[in-house]
């Protein structure tokens, strides 16, 4: 039991950069813009955050620099796709590669150099609570932030009028335009805000969870976050669940070495990535019309609960996701 608690807390901690990045991406995709540059952005901001914190000795400055880098890359993506009308996918992909190489180049002097890290800060009183204490209140500020950002994003999207506008931007920008909102400006805003979060997530890696900087330090995390956002159906809680699932898979992978003596170590590193995509595929498969047709063949007794489950699994993308906005 105690071990389980420790492991759950470890999963919460390990997923924190993913959660922050995924919330950022959820915001921008909800507003209708795919930020495919995520992987590169995270690398570049992880490197910048680490370098700035190392040079200035100030962690806060590091996080700020990382957020700025994330916002900047998002702004470039916005400039090219929203203003200049190029394909979001193409620009995002190119930016992902460009930022990756930029991080390798500019980050070379900081590779595998020891540096500062976010200090452990248990919350007094609360951390002594049974169960909840070790689970939620014995972490560091980055992890607390990741725990808070999920309800915050959910509230922003579903509980506020701003959230209505953001979701409408992704569903039908023309309708938002008709209501007098500057679609492009708001899409920029969401994209940049999301990008800043992605930047912070990068710094959460290099200054906290995977402390330090090395070539392609956050390996593939950005791509997996993009997949998790789809898995989560663009809904903050489910997206967060996806992040925790992935972190749990990684933990299991690390542990599995002793249990599976015939499997080379290096395989288990890749396994969570493959499994995550597989889960995404399975969820999509289960929620597909073909599955619904299969269910229809079953006895009536099973149909209702199964169809309900399928409907719950089904996640529709924002209708205008990735589409350029054209004035009606």
């Amino acid at each position: 039991m105690e071990q389980l608690l420790i492991d759950l807390a470890a999963v919460l901690a390990a997923a924190s950069p993913l959660v922050i990045a995924a919330m950022g991406e959820t915001l921008s995709e909800r507003a209708g813009v795919i930020n495919l540059s995520l992987d590169g952005t995270m690398l570049l901001s992880a490197m910048t955050g680490f370098a700035v914190a190392l040079i200035t000795g100030n962690l806060i400055l590091g996080f700020i620099a990382a957020a700025l880098v994330g916002a900047l890359v998002a702004a470039v993506l916005g400039l090219f796709s929203l203003t200049l009308g190029q394909s979001q996918t193409a620009v995002g992909f190119v930016l992902a590669l460009l930022c990756t190489d930029l991080s390798s180049f500019l980050g070379a002097p900081f590779a595998r150099v020891p540096g500062p890290s976010v200090p452990f800060t248990p919350i007094p009183v609360l951390s002594d609570l049974p169960v909840f204490g070790p689970l939620f209140f014995r972490h560091d500020p980055v992890i607390y932030a990741s725990l808070l950002i999920v309800p915050f994003t959910a509230f922003l999207l579903y509980g506020t009028r701003l959230g209505l506008i953001v979701r409408a931007l992704g569903e039908r920008p023309a309708a938002v335009y008709a209501r007098g909102v500057d679609v492009t400006r708001w899409r920029y805003a969401m994209l940049i805000a999301g990008g800043a979060l992605v930047g912070i997530a990068g710094a959460a890696f290099s200054l906290d969870l995977k402390q330090g900087w090395s070539y392609r330090h956050t390996f593939g995390s950005g791509w997996i976050v993009l997949a998790i956002v789809i898995f989560g159906g663009w809904r903050p809680w489910r997206v967060a669940l996806g992040c925790y699932l992935f972190a749990a898979l990684e933990l299991v992978a690390t542990r599995s070495q002793s249990a599976l003596p015939d499997i080379p170590t290096q395989i288990v590193q890749v396994a969570p990535f493959v499994l995550m995509i597989l889960v995404l595929a399975l969820v999509n498969l289960a929620a597909s019309p073909a599955a619904a047709r299969q269910v229809m063949r079953l006895p009536a007794f099973w149909q209702r609960p199964l169809l309900a489950a399928i409907n719950r699994l089904r996640a529709t993308a924002p209708a205008a996701l990735g589409q350029p906005f054209e004035r009606p």
Partner: protein
């Protein structure tokens, strides 16, 4: 251009006509300039003399026969990948899985080489080529399957398959195909010398590799522009719904484009094994597939432009290896230059 208005009408028109080709060059030149500005800022920020770095990046690949041959041996698989990607781009697919297809091809090519090392080399090379192409194609078809049956976009299916392929390569290198002495990340045991594709004396240049790549380029160019298949693929890429209405089996064409791209990437992987590394190494694809995507994006999947761009990009990459050796800076700056070029080229394109 104000001064032109004062000239007699006939003269003006003539001058403007002559200026037209120049005008069409301004946008690309701007893109080029912007890319160099960005790269220069990066270089300056790390305290390097940009001119020296550019000299190395741009000309480093041509300075000695050894480097020239290295460049060609990089350009060949790069060209193969980007030629394959020009098919999938024509079919409207972002095949990010090209990296994994290359690895799958390399693994598949290793199978006959390991099974029957005593067979005549010529036969083995042929077998390796076929099996490499088949392996890449199969890997690509899996992506097609995930897209069609599980509704996973080909971008993420491709990425997932990339992870899987590199995991598989690692497993083989460290597991069943490990070195006789001990497993090593540096790869499997080297192939017997006689199975290496013949190289030009003292150089690492295997002429067969560029020849194969060029043949693939010509065939694909012909197939995309002259054949019904090419027209149908383009129709599917432009508008799958309408293409289906006109009687084209879109799912099949998409699968075919993926398979064709996978086969070419697999061939590239095979070349990496028999002509470059002479073993299966974990990082056998070395990012060539993704670089191929950049090439294809810059060439706008137009086969005629693939060759010069692939050569230029290969030259950048090979030239940039000089940077850490002589200037002590990271070679990733070549990637920055390549990425910035494509990015700004996208930006200067007319809005669709």
């Amino acid at each position: 251009m104000l001064w032109l208005r004062q000239l007699p009408d006939r003269y003006t028109r003539m001058r403007l006509d002559r200026l037209k080709p120049l005008a069409s060059l301004t946008r690309p030149l701007l893109a080029l300039l912007a890319a160099f500005v960005l790269t220069t800022i990066a270089l300056l920020s790390s305290g390097v003399a940009p001119l020296e770095a550019y000299r190395l990046i741009l000309f480093g690949a041509f300075s000695t026969p050894v480097r020239l041959s290295d460049m060609i041996m990089l350009a060949a698989p790069l060209l193969l990948c980007s030629v394959g990607l020009s098919i999938t781009f024509a079919g409207g697919l972002y095949n990010l899985g090209v990296e994994g297809q290359m690895i799958a091809g390399a693994i598949a090519a290793m199978v006959p080489l390991r099974l029957w090392p005593d067979w005549p080399p010529l036969l083995l090379w042929l077998l390796a080529g076929l099996s490499g192409a088949a392996g890449g194609a199969l890997w690509a078809l899996l992506i097609g399957g995930l897209r069609r049956y599980a509704g996973v976009s080909e971008i993420f299916a491709g990425l997932g398959m990339n992870f899987l392929a590199s995991g598989l390569a690692l497993y083989l290198v460290l597991g069943p195909w490990r070195r006789q002495t001990s497993a090593s990340l540096s790869g499997t045991d080297l192939l017997p010398r006689e199975l290496w594709l013949p190289t030009v004396d003292r150089l690492r240049l295997a002429p067969a590799a560029p020849v194969i790549a060029l043949i693939a380029l010509v065939i694909v160019w012909w197939a995309l522009t002259k054949t019904r298949w090419g027209l149908e693929v383009r129709a599917v890429g432009l508008n799958p719904a309408a293409a289906a209405r006109l009687g084209i089996v879109t799912a099949r064409r998409m699968a075919e484009t993926l398979a064709a791209c996978g086969a070419l990437a697999g061939t590239a992987g095979m070349l990496q094994v028999v002509a470059v590394h002479h073993a299966l190494i974990p990082n056998i694809s070395s990012g060539i597939g993704l670089l191929g995507l950049l090439v294809a994006l810059l060439a706008r999947a137009d086969p005629r432009w693939l060759l010069p761009i692939a050569v230029a990009f290969a030259a950048f990459t090979v030239g940039s290896i000089q940077l850490p050796l002589t200037l002590g800076i990271d070679s990733a700056i070549a990637g920055v230059l390549q990425g910035a070029l494509v990015l700004f080229a996208l930006a200067t394109r007319a809005r669709r």
